[in-house]
């Protein structure tokens, strides 16, 4: 469960990116965050995993109050949240397998569990046969699937994705969406900021539109709503 109450975010340079956000997202929902460039979508997402702190208001993620969460507890929050970015953020010198395993190594999981979990998620994103490849040897869509595998490998309750299809061609984007849908069907909450009208209008989910740091629309099975 995610809940934001009266959340404001003003960056140190004085830019107010979020201007009083109230939102409630239940466990297992699939939510698109849409809005024009600079509206505050990425900021909204960053607040979820304490990449940024709110200037005001409260944010509850998985029963943790992020406004008062102690710094040393932040790693634990992040283990419950998978994060996927537009630019994949893979380590170029590690293989697919190692990139995914990395997420479990840093939380000091046992080698036996690591192996089992990694092979499991690589199967889910249909990359088991490319486990030994380096990121450079993969297509963009495959790289994003590795990133998703890494995001879900420690079985988070929430996956948040900032424009996960932003760098991908339409066909590959659909592939990624299907994988995210599958993950969602297993009960994981998905929060996805996107500019992709076609996807939002086709795979109908809840849509939260942000403009100038405020929620201007919140519809179940909504549409993208912006002209290009």
């Amino acid at each position: 469960m995610i809940e934001m109450k009266e959340v404001y975010k003003t960056y140190p340079n004085g830019v107010t990116a979020l201007n009083g956000i109230d939102i409630h997202i239940d466990q297992g929902e699939f939510v698109y965050i849409v809005g024009p460039s600079g509206a505050g979508k990425s900021t909204f997402i960053k607040l979820m995993f304490r990449e940024e702190r709110p200037s005001k208001g409260s944010i509850i993620v998985n029963d943790r109050d992020l406004a008062v969460l102690k710094k040393r507890k932040v790693p634990h929050l992040r283990r419950e949240i998978g994060v996927v970015y537009q630019d994949f953020r893979l380590l170029p010198k590690l293989t697919v397998y190692e990139n995914v395993a990395f997420a479990l190594e840093v939380i000091e999981e046992t080698p036996k569990n690591i192996k089992r979990r990694v092979m499991d998620v690589l199967d889910q994103v249909r990359l088991k046969n490319k486990a030994r490849f380096l990121p450079d040897e993969l297509s963009g869509g495959e790289q994003q699937r590795v990133a998703i595998a890494r995001a879900i490998v420690n079985m988070p309750q929430v996956v948040i994705a900032d424009e996960p299809t932003g760098n991908l061609d339409p066909e590959t984007s659909w592939e990624i969406m299907h994988i995210l849908e599958e993950i969602n069907q297993r009960g994981t909450t998905i929060l996805m900021a996107t500019h992709n009208r076609e996807i939002v209008n086709t795979i109908r989910k809840r849509v939260i539109a942000i403009e100038d740091g405020s929620v201007v629309r919140d519809e179940h099975r909504g549409d993208y709503g912006y002209e290009i």
Binding site: P75, R79, R89, V106
Partner: protein, 275 residues
């Protein structure tokens, strides 16, 4: 960068090692001299047994005096003659009319108090003169103090330079690994997990930097010790024995190297690793 920071540690530790070897040996010399410090109390030539007893009683009553020993003018002459060897025979003529004084040889309780004790004794009745190696003792002490201060200032400066260079080297690794660190944070690595490789890197740089100094100190001291030991004439100048001194010094140099390395990494981790 790695080379220059290891080089800085090496230079620092070489100087630290040489400085410590010299200082500790000088201290040893100073202590030996100190321990040998004697105040010779010459009594008035006219002093008879009664006066000698009075002086002895007074010495007995002085709190700062460790030991004292009476030495008659005949004994004084004999030891003078002995110390001069062949040439001393000329003085045997004096046996009939001994020009020397009866004396007490006094050792102060605390060697540092020598000057004060000598001054006090001088005030006693029937005391003609007091002698002690004032010049030598004072010189050694002032020299040691100067050497210690200059050496310490130099070493503190060098240690800071080395720490600074190490922290710069580690800063470069941190920057090079920014992406990896970002991902580690993203997937929930704890701060300690992210930091410890940099501490290890600092430690390794420090230890690498101490290899050459340790080799130089141990072999250099070995050479000096076994070559100079027998050539030094004065028995109060004695080098500290190679074993265990050189090994203790090597251990200390290693510890300082490790400290420099770890401290350098702590500094740059604190500054550049926003975790």
């Amino acid at each position: 960068m790695t080379v220059s920071s290891v080089g800085a540690v090496t230079t620092t530790l070489l100087l630290v090692g040489v400085f410590l070897a010299v200082m500790l040996n000088l201290n040893e010399v100073a202590e030996n001299v100190e321990e040998d410090v004697e105040i010779k109390v010459l009594l008035d030539v006219s002093a008879g047994q009664e006066e000698i007893d009075t002086v002895e009683q007074n010495l007995e009553d002085m709190p700062d005096i460790g030991t004292y020993e009476y030495s008659s003018k005949e004994e004084e002459l004999k030891s003078l003659v002995d110390s001069l060897g062949d040439q001393g025979q000329a003085f045997e003529l004096f046996e009939q009319s001994n020009p020397l004084n009866d004396a007490f040889v006094v050792k102060p309780e605390e060697p540092e108090d020598t000057a004060q004790v000598a001054e006090d004794i001088k005030q006693l009745d029937h005391v003609d003169k007091v002698n002690y190696g004032e010049e030598l003792v004072e010189r050694i002490f002032t020299f040691n103090e100067y050497a210690r201060n200059i050496g310490l200032a130099l070493i503190i400066g060098l240690v800071f330079t080395a720490i600074f260079l190490i922290s710069n080297t580690i800063k470069i690794t941190i920057i090079a690994r920014q992406k990896e660190i970002g991902i580690m944070k993203l997937v929930g690595a704890t701060n300690m997990f992210i930091r410890w490789p940099f501490f290890v890197e600092g430690l390794i740089l420090g230890i690498l930097g101490s290899i050459i100094p340790i080799a130089a100190i141990v072999s250099g001291y070995y050479y000096l010790y076994y070559n100079l030991r027998d050539r030094i004439q004065f028995d109060f100048i004695q080098l500290l024995p190679f074993n265990p001194f050189a090994w203790q010094l090597a251990g200390l140099v290693l510890a300082i190297g490790a400290f420099i390395g770890v401290w350098g990494s702590v500094m740059s981790v604190r500054k550049f690793l926003k975790v």
